[in-house]
């Protein structure tokens, strides 16, 4: 533990940059403790508040630009991939898309504070062909809203954070082991949840091959296209004979659905 603290003391700027960049690239390493620590270390001038702010902003912005271009050139495939690696697949793309569609580019102002939105908003901006300068302007403000308060909190509460560091140093490896066990338990729990979720889905869902066979055989089924407005508007194709219903209107229009036939629902 002492070595880690010493390392942060001597290479704080580099560690801050790497942690913020990895966090914004979607690696599940929260960077806010690093921002707090950098803010606290700024009282000793290593790195200064200004340098900490610059590094955090450049790291976050550069990661977001990579996501922006991945969204622009890979389309929805990149969103699907993000969902696959997400630890929260059940609340992944659709809910985040909903937030983005509701607030538009303004959602970038608060994206860094909202799990999921932080990773989804930049590729969505690219997917929607928002001009890069406009994306950068909004994202820059978002990066500032995120990094400045955390650095300032670290700076203002440096004594209290120093006390925490002292505590960690005193309890040495034990504190490190407790933290590592906590992180490992969290990740294992989320992976277990995800596997359980997918097992449940597999048991009730219909595979594309089975659906294709049903269409070919002319079976009586109703295919409902429940893609989000964003997904629907950015893709000119649909599954043959599908009925389009906006997800929010499903319950209102339930009486219009054919009764007594198998309903196949699909989103992205």
């Amino acid at each position: 533990m002492k070595e880690i603290l010493d390392l942060f003391h001597s290479h704080g700027a580099l560690i801050l940059f790497v942690a913020v960049w990895l966090d914004n690239m979607g690696v599940p390493i929260p960077s806010f403790p690093f921002l707090l620590a950098a803010g606290a270390l700024a009282t000793t001038g290593r790195p200064s508040l200004g340098l900490g702010f610059m590094l955090a902003t450049i790291a976050a912005l550069s990661a977001d630009v990579i996501w922006y271009y991945l969204g622009k050139f890979s389309g929805r495939r990149i969103l699907r991939w993000i969902c696959l690696i997400s630890l929260n697949p059940e609340s992944c793309v659709s809910k985040t898309e909903e937030k983005f569609m509701r607030y538009g580019l303004r959602s970038l102002f608060i994206a860094k504070y909202v799990p999921g939105l932080n990773t989804i908003a930049p590729p969505l901006s690219g997917l929607l062909n928002i001009p890069v300068w406009k994306f950068l302007a909004y994202d820059l403000v978002g990066c500032m809203f995120w990094s400045v308060p955390l650095l300032l909190i670290g700076f203002l509460f440096s004594k209290q954070l120093g006390g925490l560091a002292l505590f960690a140093e005193r309890f040495g490896n034990l504190a490190l082991v407790v933290v590592l066990i906590g992180v490992a338990a969290f990740v294992i729990f989320k992976i277990y949840e995800r596997r359980k979720f997918y097992r449940h889905l597999r048991s009730v869902r219909i595979s594309p091959d089975e659906l294709h066979a049903k269409i070919k055989n002319g079976e009586k089924i109703a295919i409902i296209d429940l893609r989000s407005p964003l997904a629907f508007d950015t893709d000119p194709f649909s599954i043959p004979s599908s009925i389009r219903i906006v997800p929010d209107e499903l319950e209102v229009r339930v009486s219009e659905l054919p009764a007594g036939v198998e309903l196949i629902l699909y989103c992205t």
């Binding site: 009730v204 429940l226 629907f232 893709d235 194709f237 599954i239 043959p240 219009e256 699909y266 989103c267």
Partner: protein
């Protein structure tokens, strides 16, 4: 969504595994939206 429809009395509700993207990646037929999707109007 499936659960909400089941609560409304639809017993045969099945979400498509992998969604639209999986359907596309498998190369199954698609039609242009205006020809395919009948938008249910109010």
């Amino acid at each position: 969504m499936a659960r909400r429809l089941m609560d409304k009395g639809f017993t045969l509700v099945r979400p498509l595994l992998g969604g639209f993207d999986e359907w596309v990646s498998k190369g199954f037929p698609l039609v242009e939206r205006d020809l395919a999707a009948r938008e249910i109007k109010n």
